[in-house]
Symmetry: C2
Subunit: 232 residues, 2 copies
DNA sequence: TCAAAAGTGTTTAGATTACACCCATGT
DNA sequence: ACATGGGTGTAATCTAAACACTTTTGA
């Protein structure tokens, strides 16, 4: 965190923070990481992990640093959600925040409460508590952008384990888009696309033809598919 | 603009600016508004109109104010492009900017050089001069987001005159997406969608069955179509 | 034994793409 | 007369949506 001191400027400046909306999937539901704030304002209130921008880092770097400090998590996928600047969004004074969305894999979600946080917990995206600041607005926007990312990028595989089943993947889609998908069409679509590679299962694991088949994301196929799209 | 004085804070703060990427269509090409900077840094260099965030306004309000001050333009369509925070993007010191994209109609493009600008000119999006700061990066991102907006919103009609022809509209699409569209399929698609209403042309104007037909955007039809999409 | 979950295939409708001709205007 | 631009239609392909049955597992 920046050092306390005396900073003097010729013109007014706002305080600038970053916030992290961290998504994860527990095999059933899409979850979001919240921390219980240990300090005022909004003490004991749930909020997204975040903090002030430092002098020697970009906004994205700040988001990664705060995420690491407050929850111990790192992520490959990090995307800007937007800038939020309502005049009264922070009772401490004029503060603007830039929110980032990130996703972490299920087996890497051992988040711990860090510096400023009394507690850290995953909440189902559809069962969120009251949030501090304008974080509810940020949350809506982050989910909206996650949907866009699902449509245009392979972010879904950053939420799933390296090895996953189609029913799992469908549950994730259902939660992200808040709607049902036809199982047959869902499977057909992804299998036909060729971006899923079945994982060779040993004879022991092949319990039956009706236990879920395990797949892996085929990054090369995806890149190839993307090429074809862009050519057109 | 904010008043010069002495502002003291306990922690470091960055300067915060807004920038406007203003798009317009001259009937042939997609253009972007640039101003020639009258002051250092990057004096005499072309840049997007923008300036510092004031204490009593949101980022969006600041973008609208700066646009008005520097070019006299107002716009209905204004969308955030993103926050840019590279450490060395402004030689005056650490500055982060939030860029906004906006569009104005052709007959409202009588932009004039304002306060800080020596000159203001429209440039074809594909024939831009060297830009100040990291504005080339911002420009690429803004065009990318404009494409997304073309796909998901009726922003195209905010760029066209209230009354327009399909060949005009197609030229705009061609410039925005940097690719050709099949004229027959293009027309079929938009006519079938029902969001275009032909403008009744007086007998005099109907020179021939082969002069372009004029249309108007049917906002009600569009809203109706959108409803149907969301229901699914 | 019964409910729940998962595998599989076909058919239809809609959307997208490719493609050719005619007419009018202006050079 | 010829090139340019603009109006129109049809066939083929691909994509999306709807929909039913069988097997396994666990309660």
């Amino acid at each position: 965190m920046g050092e306390k001191g005396v900073y003097t400027y010729d013109y007014w400046r706002p305080a600038v923070t970053v916030d992290n909306v961290v998504f994860s999937f527990d095999g059933t539901h899409l979850n979001v990481l919240l921390i219980k704030r240990g300090n005022e304002p909004f003490k004991d209130c749930w909020a997204f992990p975040g903090g002030f921008l430092d002098e020697d880092e970009t906004l994205e770097e700040a988001a990664r640093r705060e995420l690491k400090e407050e929850t111990g998590l790192t992520t490959k996928y990090l995307n800007e959600v937007g800038a939020f600047s309502d005049l009264d969004r922070d009772p401490r004074g004029r503060t603007i925040t830039v929110a980032f969305a990130s996703v972490v894999q299920p087996n890497k979600t051992a988040a711990v409460a860090g510096d400023d946080a009394k507690d850290a917990r995953w909440f189902n995206i559809h069962e969120m508590p009251k949030l501090a600041f304008d974080h509810e607005k940020i949350c809506r926007m982050a989910l909206w952008k996650l949907r866009i990312a699902f449509i245009n990028t392979p972010v879904v595989f950053a939420l799933l384990n390296d090895i996953f089943t189609l029913p799992e993947m469908q549950r994730l889609y259902t939660d992200v888009f808040s709607r049902e998908f036809d199982r047959r069409n869902f499977q057909k679509k992804f299998l036909a696309s060729g971006i899923l590679t079945p994982v060779a299962q040993s004879d022991e694991e092949k319990k039956s033809p009706h236990s879920p088949i395990q797949y892996r994301f085929n990054e090369a196929s995806y890149a190839h598919l993307r090429e074809k799209m862009l050519r057109c």
